[in-house]
Every structure is written in C-alpha cells, then in structure tokens.
C-alpha cells in the first residue's frame, strides 16, 4: 500500500500552529488567547478549536475593546463566541473612556496608548495570565519579522529585541518567573495569502467588513474613514459620501482606512491583493506615528 507522505505548506503550517497552541495549554498555568476579531484572529481561533477537538479549548478568549471598534466587529465577536462555546472576556480602559479619550479628541497615539496598550496590560495583570496568544504574523511588519514564536516579556510586559531567548527546532522555553509572561504567536510563519487561502479552504467565518459594500465614508488625512457611529466630528458629517469599499485590516474605526474595492468574495479579495500596490498595514494609521513605531509599541507592551 502506498502512502502519500507529503504535506502542503498550509498543512505544515497548520500542524506547526496546533503544536504551539497545545504546548502552551500544557506548560502554562493560566493562558489566554487574545482576540482582535480580525481575519488572523479568526484563523488562530479555529486552530485552537482544532487543537483540542473533540474537547473544549482549555483557555478563554479575551478581547480588548477600545470602545471605538466597528459595530459589526462587536456583533460578530459575540455571535462567534456564543456559537462556538468560547469563554469570552471583554476588557476596556473604562477610566480613560469615561474621561472622554478617543482618537478624534486625543490623537491616535494617546488613544492607542490608553485604550489599547494600557487596557491590555491592565487586563493581563488583572487575570494574572502567564501566557497570551496573539495572531501576529512575521510577514506583516519589519520588527515582527524578528520576534520569536514564544516571546518573553518581563514583569512590565516589555519586549527586549536585543535579548531574545534562542528558539530552536520546535522546543519552546516556557519558563518564567512570577509576574513575567510569554506572548505566543502561533501564526508567526503564515503570510497574508496563507491566511486567506486557509479561510477559503476551511470556510472560516470572518467579519463582513472585509468584503466590499457601499459604506458611508469621509476622507481624513488621505485615509478613507467609515463613519461607523455618531461620534464622527460634526464638521466632517457633511463630507460623508457612500463609497464601495472594504477593509484590509480591522481596528478602531477612526484609525482604519478603507480601500475602494468591488471584491465581494475571498477569490476576489485575493485577486485584488495580488495585483494591489499597497501592503496591508498601510491602512493602519498608527504605524506611521513615528519612525520605527511598531517596534516602539512592541517594546512598551503593545503587540
């Protein structure tokens, strides 16, 4: 009897990710999977479901809600978690929110620092998680290209790119002292195309914002921003026009630029991606705050 003993690249990546996810469940006391509701998170969540089938995933899902996410994201999050039996934790920096912090009034840097980074760090401390999964990929951004799969964080949740633990074969060092933690990136070796391909093959549900539709948009500093709720500054309201757009990444609605597109299927999205001239993070306003800004944010504890 002849056996097919080759794996395709996607099957190999899937096996690698499942191995990483199980390793964390086995070696840490209190892991959590961070969920951004984006396409990468959706793949990561499916991989976790696969890793423990036919059982339940032994750790919770946590969403850091900046309170400025697209409404469709929140609806999708709640529905998915319910339908798939996930224990969902939602945390926000309510102090800053109640003080009125937002991207329009405080700018993207202050908003991100308080509503995303600080909210995340507070939540990690609150639950004393010793490992947190993130859906980041190495092909997304230059500083991520150098990060380990098990990325050590000190007691202040800081990443030190010059002092990373050597990481060999598939043997991961999960030892930490009290207060320290590991960020784990099971999708490290996936590319954007791999993610789309996997979503297509596995029929993984994703937020409809990824598909093109007529949406009310306004142009701010060269970015097409969708007016998702009534917090858009009043002076911008008259400038709203309906445009056929979709989103390549999802984040806070005032900070995530839409792209004009007619792609309504995954095949069309991939086709657009293959012929497009912009890489996916260009629609993220925060990457352009300052030079080497993602690395800076990572050092401070943001993903």
């Amino acid at each position: 009897m002849n056996y097919e003993l080759n794996l395709s690249h996607l099957q190999e990546l899937e096996a690698e990710s499942i191995h990483i996810i199980r390793e964390v469940a086995a070696e840490f006391e209190n892991p959590v999977m961070l969920y951004s509701i984006g396409k990468d998170s959706s793949v990561m969540v499916r991989l976790a479901e696969k890793a423990f089938a036919p059982g339940k995933v032994p750790f919770p899902l946590m969403h850091i809600d900046s309170k400025w996410k697209f409404r469709e994201m929140i609806e999708f999050r709640d529905r998915y978690a319910k339908e798939h039996g996930w224990n969902l934790i939602v945390e926000s920096n309510m102090e800053a929110f109640n003080a009125g912090v937002g991207p329009f009034t405080h700018g993207s840097k202050v908003h991100t620092d308080l509503m995303k980074t600080k909210a995340l760090l507070d939540a990690l401390n609150k639950y004393k998680f010793d490992a947190a999964f993130g859906g980041a990929r190495r092909d997304e951004e230059k500083s991520r290209a150098k990060e380990r799969i098990f990325s050590f964080r000190d007691q202040f949740n800081q990443w030190d790119p010059k002092n990373q633990r050597p990481e060999l074969w598939d043997i991961y060092n999960s030892r930490v002292h009290k207060g320290e933690s590991i960020r784990v990136f099971p999708l490290s070796n996936w590319t954007e195309l791999d993610i789309w391909q996997y979503i297509r093959l596995e029929n993984i549900p994703i937020v409809p914002l990824y598909f093109a539709k007529e949406r009310p948009c306004v142009e701010i500093d060269g970015n097409l921003i969708m007016a998702d709720d009534d917090r858009l500054p009043k002076e911008l309201v008259p400038k709203i026009h309906n445009r056929m757009v979709r989103f390549r990444t999802l984040g806070c609605w005032p900070l995530t630029g839409a792209v004009e597109s007619n792609a309504t299927t995954i095949e069309e999205i991939v086709e657009e991606m293959m012929t497009t001239t912009k890489s996916e993070r260009t629609t993220r306003v925060i990457d352009f705050d300052q030079e080497a800004s993602m690395e800076q944010k990572k050092r401070e504890g943001y993903f």
Binding site: Y3, L5, L7, S8, H9, Q11, A15, E16, I18, H19, R22, A26, E27, K50, A51, F52, A53, P54, G55, K56, R138, D139, E141, K142, S143, A145, K146, P161, K162, R165, P166, L168, W169, D170, I171, N173, R175, V176, H177, N189, T191, L193, D194, Q197, R200, L201, E267, E268, V270, E271, M274, T276, T277, K278, S279, T282, E291, A292, E295, Q296
Partner: protein
Amino acid sequence: MEDKKLDIKAYLDADEKKDLLRLLTAGSVDDGKSTLIGRLLFDSKKLYEDQLQALERDSRRVGNAGAGQIDYALLLDGLKAEREEGITIDVAYRYFSTNQRKFIIADTPGHEQYTRNMITGGSTANLAIILVDARTGVITQTRRHTFLVSLLGIKHIVLAVNKMDLVNFSEEVFTKIKNEYLALTSQLGIEDVTCFPLSALEGDNVVEKSPRTPWFQGTSLLQFLETVPIDRDRNMQDFRFPVQYVLRPNLDFRGFCGKVASGVIRKGDEVVALPSMKKSRVKNIVTYEGELSYAFCPQSICITLEDEIDISRGEMIVRPDNLPNIGRYFQTMLVWMDEEPMDRGKQFFLKHNTNTTRATIDEVCYRVDVNTMEQLPGTDFKLNEIGCVRITTAKTIFFDAYKQNKATGAFILIDPITNNTSAVGMIIRPLEMDDINKADVPTLDLKKLGIGEEHYEAIEKAMKDLARQGLEIVIRRPSPTPNPSSPKWEVGNI
C-alpha cells in the same frame, strides 16, 4: 468576468498544493547577503510598492548603498538598533513564494559573537545558502558557517559565490573557490552541495541565468531552490510520538495529542507506551475534520488506544519493534547560547520533546575550534562555544541520535535561575551507565506510608506540579479500581 474568477480560483487551487522550503542564509555583512535576499524577494515580485516607497525614503537617510541605488539590505533590517549599527543583529524571517514553492528564509548574521543566532535560524532549515565574496573566497568565517550547518544536520548546501561582477565573471576564480569548498564539505561529510556564481547586486544567476557566465552549466539559484527535492529528508522510518497533551473531554474519551516526531502510524497498529512498556493498538487517529487512517511526521494529531493505558505528557508512544534509546545518560554536542558561562555545578532543566527534567553536565569531553574544527581539551564553555559533553538526566528520556532523528535527538538546557535557554544539544549516543537506574529517584509508597485513599488525588496533583519543575518522584499506590482477586499495583511514573 466569469473567466477571471476561474483564473484566480485556479491560481489558489495550485497555490494550495505548494510545499514549503525553509532556508537559512549565512554570510557576513560584506558578502551581500541581505542584498541577495532582497533580490530574491524583489525579483520574485513579492515586494509591495509601498514597501519600496518606504525603502527609498530610508535609503536617503541611512542607506549604505551608493547614491541613487536601492539598498536592499534595508528591507530586511527591521530593528531600530540594528539600523544604527548598520548590521543585522538577530534572526529575521522572510517569506516569498513562486509558482513552484513557498519559501521561509531565516536571515542570520555572520559575526562570530552571533553564532547563536545562526544556530537559532538554522535549526528548522531544509537548506543553507552560504555566501562568499568572490574576491576573498573561502575564509575562516565560511568554514565556521559550514561547520555549524553540518552540526545542525542541514541536508542541502548552496555555496553562493557572490560579487562575480568584481572579478569579471572569471570561471577560473569560481572553479578555484568551488574546489576549495568541496574539499571542506567532503571532510565534514556533507553530500549535497551546489555552487553558483552570482552577482546579487546586479542580479546575475539569481532569478535568471546570466549571459555573463556562459561557462556555468547549472540553473539559476531560484530555479534550483524551486526544484531541490526535500520530501525524502524527513525520517519516515522510526515512529516516535511524544505525548504533548492528554485530552479527556468525557469519561469515554482519552486522547493523546502530539506532533508525530518521525515515522508513520496507522489505525490498528500495535504500539507501546514508554516508559511503562504497556502495549495496545491504535484505535483511532482523531482530528477536527474526522478520523484519519494513517498519520506521519510532522502532523499534529490525537491518538486513541484500544486499551485504557495511563500515559502522561512527556511519555512516548512508539512501535514495539522499533524503540528509541531509553535512559538517563548520553553523549552530546552542545552549543553554549548564554552570556553566563557553563557552570557544571548547576542543575539545568533539560527540555527534550515534551519532556522536561533536571540535568547535569557531568563531563566536557572536548571543545571544537569552530574556525579550524580542531578538537581542543575540554573546559567549561562560554557564549558561542561548541563541544562534546556527557549529560545525566533525573528523569528517563526517550531519544535517538540527532543524525538519525533530529526531532528526538535535539534538546535545550534552561538555566534554573535566569530561565534563559543556556545551551542547545544534538545527541550523539547513549552511554552505558544505566545499571543503577532510578536508584536515586525518590519513591512514595502511599499505602506503606499509611496515607488514606482520599488524599491520593491531591498527592498525584502535587507530584504533577513537581514533574513540571523537572523533579521526578515515583508514586506507588494501589490501582484506583482494584480487582479483588488479584490486587493490581500500578507504578505511576509522572
């Protein structure tokens, strides 16, 4: 419009079937390594335009290339600290694909003090590209990189003789370097070596064959990378299944999850659990999608057995007629990765597959001069030093020689105080000292100690916590469901 949709679908269907080649590049800052990778990425048309725009901006500010030229190296050096120093300080991973294959490049620096990064980047590589400058040929650093590649057991080597434009694409220069290099690799026992004359800066023989080297008979580098066969590199002979996670969603299901480290397993195959030596048969191979009739490395699967056998994380399922070495003593190559030098008085944590145990370095047999490959008298290793040592573990481990089986021959040593990964090892052979096996492993006989059964579960849980710390304690207790006719005693080895 319909046609177009079919096209992209056909593209995705073909893309889905591509395999994955992981490659390591090694060379110094001056060999044009980053330029070569930039060229592979650029010319395989996977660079997005806006990344190029950012590049042009950065080039004007800190670029090392001449005026008006794109510095491909800037694409790769992501970290701020490195840009300032003008060198790549760590491993960077890059991704590209062609119509044939997907590629992951681990880009590592060539400086001596960063040997550990090359070891890190190369551990999962199928193939290594070693760069030399055509003007200088094989230098000390080339020997060092080649030694490290052979130590890691990377099966395929490409020697990229770069900067051929600076030696007028001379066949004589290329042949001289090639012969010198082949002499080196045959000495190290590396079989598959292919040499290319390149100019990464000008693109010769990188993606397309260059008209400037009509004497060169081979293909372009990229064509070679797209076609080199890697499917026979994995060990498909020796089935090894280190149990990673035990899945018990309900009382009727006990699944052993893990990644097949090597070999193939079929439904119905006879297996044995180590170290208990209890036999059973594979009842099912369970995945999210459903059952599989067989599985092979490196698939992540879940196995159920016909019989109720207690197997924990760190134990191993194998075939009864093909066992690994079972023991606590072995001789191994060791690469020291820590700023803090080796301390033989220390008890390290040794992580091997899914098994963690305490371990000591008993003896340094010799140290290797990575430049000359000479064996030097054994002394404690410092950062980036490599040599041969003898190790004793507190728990029994199930291993093979790294040369036969990477997945079960590799381990890491973790410092118990700093938690750093202090060293990494490639096992050479077991040592014959196992006669006093387990004499020094403490044993708790729960019945003898007069401990009530209601406490057994709590004690087992505490022992499991200790096992996570790498401390092995054997518990002796009566079986939880004793058979009245013949009281069965179970020796739990956690």
